[in-house]
């Protein structure tokens, strides 16, 4: 099977099962459009099988050959997007948003907590800084693998990472219990009973 040292890559049965569906989304002759989903599939397969989500070059070649496109074109796509990891990352890849809204709301503390985790448990955590991940309302935000953890501060980040280290699966989303992007402490508007509002549609 694939591990971090192999020079070869092949899709396993789980991935293979998904490929026809992905390619079928694109018009005939335009199958090269499936390059990004397939690279994502590679990264997920690597995560599943080796705990390290990344895209080895051998896998890019496999994707290129599968989609009958020049290998160079796949390298271009894979290097363009930072979401494709070209080197192995650890099981929990911490992506800290440090763009202005998160930074104003205290991303420095989150960053420190993550740095500490990587320094002490580098075999479990790896990290990178991201530009805005689009969740400014719940800043500061930490993305761990596929999930957003929001409204963090230093202590909550440390607790969160400790939970991951123990093997728990903390619930994604706000860490202060707010619902989605609703205001902290509950709603502040729309108290009236909107169900009685006459829309005029039935009359």
């Amino acid at each position: 099977m694939n591990d971090m040292t192999t020079e070869t890559f092949s899709f396993d049965d789980v991935s293979e099962a998904k490929i026809p569906g992905i390619i079928a989304k694109y018009p005939a002759g335009r199958q090269a459009s499936a390059v990004m989903p397939l690279l994502d599939l590679v990264q997920r397969q690597m995560a599943r099988l080796t705990d390290h989500a990344w895209v080895p070059r051998a896998a890019m070649d496999v994707v290129a050959d599968r989609l009958a496109m020049p290998r160079m074109r796949v390298y271009e796509v894979a290097t363009f997007y930072t979401m494709f990891h070209l080197k192995p990352v650890q099981k929990f890849h911490l992506q800290v948003c440090t763009t202005t809204p998160c930074w104003l709301r205290g991303s420095d503390a989150v960053l420190d907590a993550c740095r500490h985790a990587v320094a002490t448990h580098g075999d479990m955590f790896s990290m990178e800084e991201l530009e805005c991940v689009g969740a400014c309302v719940n800043a500061p935000v930490l993305v761990i693998n596929d999930d957003y953890y929001e409204d963090l501060d230093g202590a909550r980040t440390e607790a969160l990472l400790e939970a991951f280290r123990r093997g728990d699966a903390p619930k994604p989303g706000s860490t202060i219990g707010r619902q989605n992007s609703a205001p902290e402490g509950g709603r502040t508007t729309l108290f009236a009973d909107v169900t009685k509002h006459d829309t005029g549609a039935d009359s």
């Binding site: 020049p70 271009e76 290097t79």
Partner: protein, 691 residues
């Protein structure tokens, strides 16, 4: 036809013209780095900004189509200021190493910076440094100089058909790379050196060798394949330092194959710079007098019918004319220029030329290759066919021969004679496609004709062409693709056995006592009986010289004025760039001297008279650089019988593209290409789906 006004000049331009093209048509020069008229439009350098009336901002003229009534300004203060700003951005990360840059003196960026550059920089941050890449033994990279115009990327994907370069990452970390750090596998890779507007891609063998203003530039013709690529030879003193393509839209456009560009270092090695005579089994240096008298003694002593001559692949027509006249004067009918033994009928030009002409390829919509690897035997010509495939979605290509990735979708129809015979069946899938095409090409290679059943192969191809409608009054689609620069010239001069004469095979098998090899190195020297007296006239100590009893040192193609006829029958003149080394002489003068010594003096004393003689031998030699498209003659049928076709496999013309002749075999650069350029990393091309 929209009417536009460029700087006050009103003109009408064709539909689909860009603003840049319109400005050029009006005689206005627009600076550009990424735009190239033979590549797709990228629009990423922004240097070609112009002002257009009613448009709020300056517009990149290369990508802007013209509109009716457009008023274009190419030289306003706003335009100049915009270009200065673009230049400032381009120079932010460009190193100031022009004094040690090989592009210096012929650099687009340098030239434009004179007009649009600032005299100082406002940028105080560190410049970006980029790691150099490994593009193989031919192309040197200094990637920090790259301004990311992507011409090289576009050339390799679009023209060369080997998409091995790309731009990885983005923003400030964007790099042009092949990612895998392996040499480029294209036979046209040298062209990206010419295309690069800065010094990021330069010629590796030419690194730090010379400055462009030191070089003497001579127009010449390439001899490494039969395309007749127009070249410019750059020399300094007695050395050829580089070869560049000249633009000739009818032949090579502006491309040049790698072997033609880089094999020139072979011109300085293994040269024959003095006569040699074999004494007691060993070659000893000799004087011209001694060598010529030995030759004369041998020729006088031989029975005329037992003297033979074979002309090689790189010969100029002048020397072949002189050699033929000498042989005829001596009374010998044994001369042949078809070193590979290809069965070619010199009696009718339509039977040995690329009849469609190279320009005619631009009309074709289907092609069948028989026993030819166009990518390696004629890379520039193959790029032209490839363009048809790119432009024309219905283009059908098929190949019979050893499988070769020819850089575009091509159905491999088989490797042997049986596959060819199958095409004679009108119901064969590919034959149907070929017949459905309006202007099909049938291209037959030398290896297909050099077989014992070459005449049958020829006849079969002729039949297929006829059935496909390639031999009608307005479309001649039957083509012989040569791979030797001298061949068509030799056939035009009738350098084929006269009545009762022996051909190459006959001569090699011992049909002659004295054999004159004019640069002929590709025959089987081991098969020559040991008692055959071999006179080798040529420029390199290669196979022929190793077997020779007397060596007469001649001139290479750069060292003599010469006439070459390319595969489509275009006669072109090459000039002398440098003089032959040492005591070597122009080849026809050697033959003229011998003729006088055997008392059969040739009737010409200078090259003009010799060329006049050639013009009398064949009017082709009286009209340089013209090509006539020959309409198929009614009732013309080749001599062979397609029924005699054997099942033998077609073979490849060369073991490797990079070493095919005495010059390239002597070239260290070509030797490096053989070892360093690995088999292509690309998978086999996607076969065209059978409809």
């Amino acid at each position: 036809m929209p009417k536009v006004t460029v700087d006050g000049i009103e003109l009408e331009v064709p539909n689909g013209f860009t603003v840049l093209q319109a400005a050029e048509a009006a005689g206005k020069e627009i600076p550009r780095f990424c735009y190239h008229d033979r590549l797709s439009i990228a629009g990423n350098c922004r240097m070609c900004l112009v002002e257009i009336e009613k448009m709020p901002k300056p517009v990149a003229s290369c990508g802007q189509p013209v509109g009716e009534g457009m008023v274009i300004f190419t030289d306003t203060e706003k335009v100049r200021q915009s270009r200065r700003n673009v230049m400032e951005f381009l120079l932010i990360n460009h190193p100031l190493d022009c004094p040690i840059c090989d592009q210096g003196g012929e650099c687009d960026l340098q030239d434009e910076a004179v007009g649009y550059g600032r005299d100082h920089t406002r940028y105080h941050e560190n410049k970006r440094a980029v790691t150099d890449k490994n593009f193989g033994p031919l192309v040197k990279t200094v990637m920090t100089r790259c301004i990311q115009c992507t011409r090289c990327v576009r050339f390799l994907s679009e023209v060369a058909g080997v998409p091995e370069l790309g731009a990885t990452s983005r923003g400030e970390t964007m790099e042009i790379t092949n990612y895998v750090e392996r040499g480029l596998t294209s036979e046209l890779s040298g062209n990206i050196i010419d295309l690069c507007p800065v010094g990021a891609l330069t010629a590796k063998p030419y690194a730090f060798v010379a400055r462009t203003w030191e070089l003497r530039k001579t127009d010449s013709i390439d001899v490494f394949d039969a395309v007749g690529t127009n070249i410019r030879i750059d020399a300094r003193g007695s050395e050829v330092l580089r070869v560049l393509p000249r633009i000739n839209d009818a032949v090579n456009e502006e491309w040049l194959a790698d072997k033609s560009r880089f094999a020139i270092d072979g011109l300085k090695r293994k040269r024959l710079d003095r006569p040699w005579i074999r004494q007691n089994g060993k070659l000893q240096p000799a004087t011209w007098d001694a060598a010529l008298s030995a030759v004369v003694a041998r020729l006088n002593g031989a029975e005329p019918g037992r003297i033979g001559a074979i002309a090689g692949n790189l010969c100029d027509a002048e020397s072949m004319m002189a050699l033929k006249d000498l042989l005829v004067g001596l009374g010998s009918p044994n001369f042949d220029c078809r070193q590979d033994g290809a069965v070619l009928d010199a009696g009718n030009r339509a039977l040995y030329l690329f009849n469609t002409t190279i320009e005619g390829i631009d009309e074709a919509d289907a092609v069948l290759f028989v026993g030819v690897d166009p990518r390696r035997e004629a890379p520039v010509l193959n790029a032209r066919i490839r363009r048809r495939w790119v432009e024309n979605t219905g283009f059908v290509a098929g190949l019979i021969g050893p499988y070769a990735d020819i850089t575009y979708g091509c159905t491999h129809l088989g490797e042997d004679g049986a596959a060819l015979r199958a095409l004679l069946d009108p119901a064969h899938e590919f034959t149907v496609k070929l017949a459905a095409a309006k202007k099909p090409l049938v291209i037959i290679g030398q290896q297909a004709l050099a077989r014992p059943d070459g005449a049958a192969v020829f006849a079969a191809c002729w039949q297929i062409a006829e059935a496909a409608g390639a031999l009608t009054a307005d479309w001649q689609g039957f083509n012989v693709l040569h791979n030797a620069a001298a061949r068509v010239g030799g056939l035009d001069l009738g350098f084929v056995p006269a009545d009762g004469g022996k051909d190459v095979a006959g001569m090699v098998a011992g049909g002659v006592d004295v054999l004159w090899l004019l640069g002929a190195d590709e025959i089987d020297m081991a098969a020559l009986p040991p008692d055959v007296f071999v006179i080798y006239q040529g420029h390199h100590g290669d196979r022929g010289a190793a077997r020779a009893d007397i060596i007469l040192p001649g001139a290479a193609y750069t060292e003599k004025p010469g006439t070459y006829v390319n595969t489509e029958g275009r006669m072109q003149l090459a000039q002398r760039a440098i003089f032959p080394p040492g005591e070597a002489r122009e080849d026809w003068t050697i033959l003229r001297a011998v003729s006088a010594l055997v008392s059969k003096p040739l009737p010409y004393d200078d090259i003009e008279a010799l060329r006049q003689r050639m013009g009398e031998a064949n009017p082709v030699f009286a009209s340089p650089d013209t090509v006539r498209r020959i309409a198929p003659q009614v009732g013309l049928t080749p001599k062979g019988d397609s029924g005699q076709l054997s099942d033998a496999k077609f073979t490849a013309a060369f073991a490797t593209y990079y070493q095919t002749d005495p010059i390239s075999r002597a070239s260290p650069t070509m030797a490096k290409c053989v070892t360093d350029i690995l088999p292509p990393a690309m998978p086999a091309p996607v076969q065209q789906a059978a409809e």
